[in-house]
Symmetry: C2
Amino acid sequence: MTTDTSTTTTLDADMLAYGQQARAASRLLMRADDAQKSAALLHIASRLQAQAEVLKAENAQDVEKARANGLEPAMLDRLTLSDKSLALMATGLRQIAALEDPVGSRSETRIRPNGMRVSKMRIPLGVVGIIYESRPNVTVDAAALCLKSGNAAILRGGSEAFCSNQALGQIIQEGLAHAGLPTHAVQTINTTDRAAVGRLITLADYVDVIIPRGGKGLIRRLEAEATVPMIRHLDGNCHVYIDRDADLKMAHDIAFQAKTYRYGVCGSMETLLVHQDVAQQILPALAAAYIEKDVELRGCERTRQLVPQAAPATDEDWATEYLAAILAIRIVDSIDEAMVHIARWSSGHTEAIVTDSLTAANRFQREVDSSSVYVNLPTVFADGFEYGLGAEIGISTNRLHARGPVGLEGLTTYKWVLEGNGQLRG
Amino acid sequence: MTTDTSTTTTLDADMLAYGQQARAASRLLMRADDAQKSAALLHIASRLQAQAEVLKAENAQDVEKARANGLEPAMLDRLTLSDKSLALMATGLRQIAALEDPVGSRSETRIRPNGMRVSKMRIPLGVVGIIYESRPNVTVDAAALCLKSGNAAILRGGSEAFCSNQALGQIIQEGLAHAGLPTHAVQTINTTDRAAVGRLITLADYVDVIIPRGGKGLIRRLEAEATVPMIRHLDGNCHVYIDRDADLKMAHDIAFQAKTYRYGVCGSMETLLVHQDVAQQILPALAAAYIEKDVELRGCERTRQLVPQAAPATDEDWATEYLAAILAIRIVDSIDEAMVHIARWSSGHTEAIVTDSLTAANRFQREVDSSSVYVNLPTVFADGFEYGLGAEIGISTNRLHARGPVGLEGLTTYKWVLEGNGQLRG
C-alpha cells in the first residue's frame, strides 16, 4: 500500500465519521426544544468574550502565517479577531437566540371530508455542510443559525483561518455540552486537506444540503462534483429600471444608492435602464452624481449622447457583475424593452422598477423572473435583516427550495402530518 | 466525420432546441392568466374524445409492436388506449382545469419598520422535464399539471408508447394554440434515442427541474448524471407502529388496510411494529386475517412465538420495500424502540402510529423523520387527492423543496416582492 492510498483511506474514514456523527447528533437536535438551543447560543456568546485572550492567541497564528504568505491588508483585516469583532459575534448570537424557532410550527391545516386533519410541520433540514472562505466570524454565525433551526452543521472554513476556526469550534462544542446538546451538532473539519471538500459534497447519505459561501469559481467547481443538493449563490447582476412614470427625484435617489451604497455587495446595481421619455431629464444630473463619486460609466449610444463622459458599453458590460465602482447605462423605448434586457442579461438575483404607474409596477413584479423584485426601492435592500428574516446564512440564487435571503426558515423543510381516528381509504 | 459523431451532433442540436423553445414558451406561460390556461385544458379534454379513433389507431401501432416484443399482459393493458381510458384522461383534465391556480398568490406579507412591504409571490418553476415509462396517460396528466401551474414541459415517455405519446402531444399543442398559448409550452421528444435523456438532464440553462417517474434503478442512474435538480421518488419502505395505548379494533383495521389496500403502491406498509404489551392480544387474529388474504408473513423471534406461520425475518426484510403480498412483523419493547427501528430502516416516505396516547402521538409526529407521519390512519393515504392537493405529479422523497405528494403547489416556487415609496437603506 502506498502512502498516498493510506492518506486517502484515512481521509475517507475521517469524513465518513464526521457525517455519521453529524447524522446521529441531528436526530437528537431535531427534537431539542427552543429553550435548550437558545441556552447553548447564549452560553457560547458569553464564552466567546470570556475566552477572548485564548481566541486572539490562536487567531494570531493564522494572521502571522497569512501575513508571511502575503495576504493583502483588507483580507488580513477580515481575518483578525479583536475584542470588537468578538463582541459583534456575541451580539449576533444573542440576536439569533432571540429569533422565533420555526421548528414544529404547523401551517396549511385542512380538514378533509372524511374528518382527517392534514397539515405541514416545519422541521430541520437535517445535516448542513458549510464551505466558506477566510472570515472566522462565519464559523460562529453559521453554527448559530444551524443550531437554532435544529440542524447539525459540518463546517469547513478557509485554511487561512484554521487555528481560529478550531478554537471557535471548541467553544461552540462547550456551549452545546453545557446545554445538554450533542457536541457533534457542530463540527469543524480539522484538516486543511482540500480533498476533504470533495468528500463532504458527496456524503449524500449523511449530509442533506451543502451551503457554499465563496466566489463563483468555487461554486461552479462544487456544483460539478456535488451529489448533495446545494443552496448556493452565483451572480448578482442586478438592474434598476426608471420608468416613464417615475417620480424623478425618487428615481435619482434610488439609482444613486443602488450603485453607491457598497460596491462589493451582491445586491448592488450593475446596469441602469432608463425610459427614453425621461432620460434627458434625469441622466445628466445622475451621471454627474456618479462621476462625483468616481463611478466609471459605460453607456449605450443614446446614453452617450446625453452623458458624453460614458465609455461605449458592449454586451460584455450587460453581462458583467462588476462588484466595483462601474455602472452600465442603457436607454430603452419601453418597459417591454427593459424587461427583455433583464430577461436576457440578469442573473435572476434582484431587480427594481421606479414608477408611479400601477400597471407598470404590476407587470414588472409579475413578469420579471428574478428571486427578488422591487418597486420604488434600491436593489441594495437584498439582505435578510431588511426582509425581516433576521440573520441570514446567505442569499440563494437557486430556483428550488429557498430563494433570496436565507434565514432560519430557509434552513428548514416540512413534513406532512395527518391525524385521524381510524379512517380507512375508500 | 463519422456517422456516429454526426448523429450525436444532431441530437445535441435537437435537445438544445427543445430547451430553448421551452424556455421561450415558459416566459410567455409564466404570465398567462388562469382563464387562458384552463381554456387550453378544456379544449384538450374535448379533443381527446373527438379524436379518439386517430389516437386509438396510433396507439394500436405501439400495442402491436409491444406484443411482438413480448411485453407482459399487465403492461400491454396499461399501454392500451380505449374510449374508457380517454374519457378518464378527459375527466382528469377537467378536474385540473378546475383547481385553484397558485401562480401570483402572495403570502407572508409583512410591513417593515421603514414602511416597505415584503411578501412572497408564487411563481412557476419554469421549464420542467418529465421522464416516464410506458403509460401514455402520464403524457396528458403531466402536461396538464405543468400547464395549469404555468410551467413549460418537455416530456420524454417510454419508447413502447412512442406513437401514442406523439399523437397525444399533437392534440395538446392544438389545445395550446387554440387558447392562444405557445405550442412549445408542451413538447414531446420525437426520438426514442436513449441518449436524449442524458442530454435532457444536463440542459441546466434551459430546464429548471427534472421529474423522473420510474423504477429506482432509472432514478439512481439519472441522479448520478443529472446537473438539473430533480424532484424524485425513491423507496416507500413504510411502517405502522401499534402502540401500547392503541384502540385494538382500530389498530387491526388500520394495519390490515395498510398492507392489503394495494400491494404495488408506494404507501403500502412493509413492516408492522407492535408494542409487546398488546402483541398477544392483537397479533394472532391480525395474522390470521393476513394469511386468509394470502399475505406471506415474516417475523422476529417474539412474533414467531405468537404467529408460528411466520418465517424468520432478517435484516434484509426490514430493509425491503416488497411492493407485494409480504409483510415483516416485529415486536418492540417501547415507542422508543419502534422509532429506533424506523430511523434505522425506513426510507423516509410514510409512517403511522396507532395510539390513543397524546404524548405518544406527539412524540411520533415530532421525532419520526419521514415526509409524511400519520396518527391513527393507514399509510395508504399517501396520495395527492387524499391530502386535498388535487391531482399529483408524483410523490417526492426529496428533503428539499416539495415533499410527499406533489400537486400544483409543488410545481411552483416563489419570489420575494418588495414595495416601497422611495425608502433608502440606512
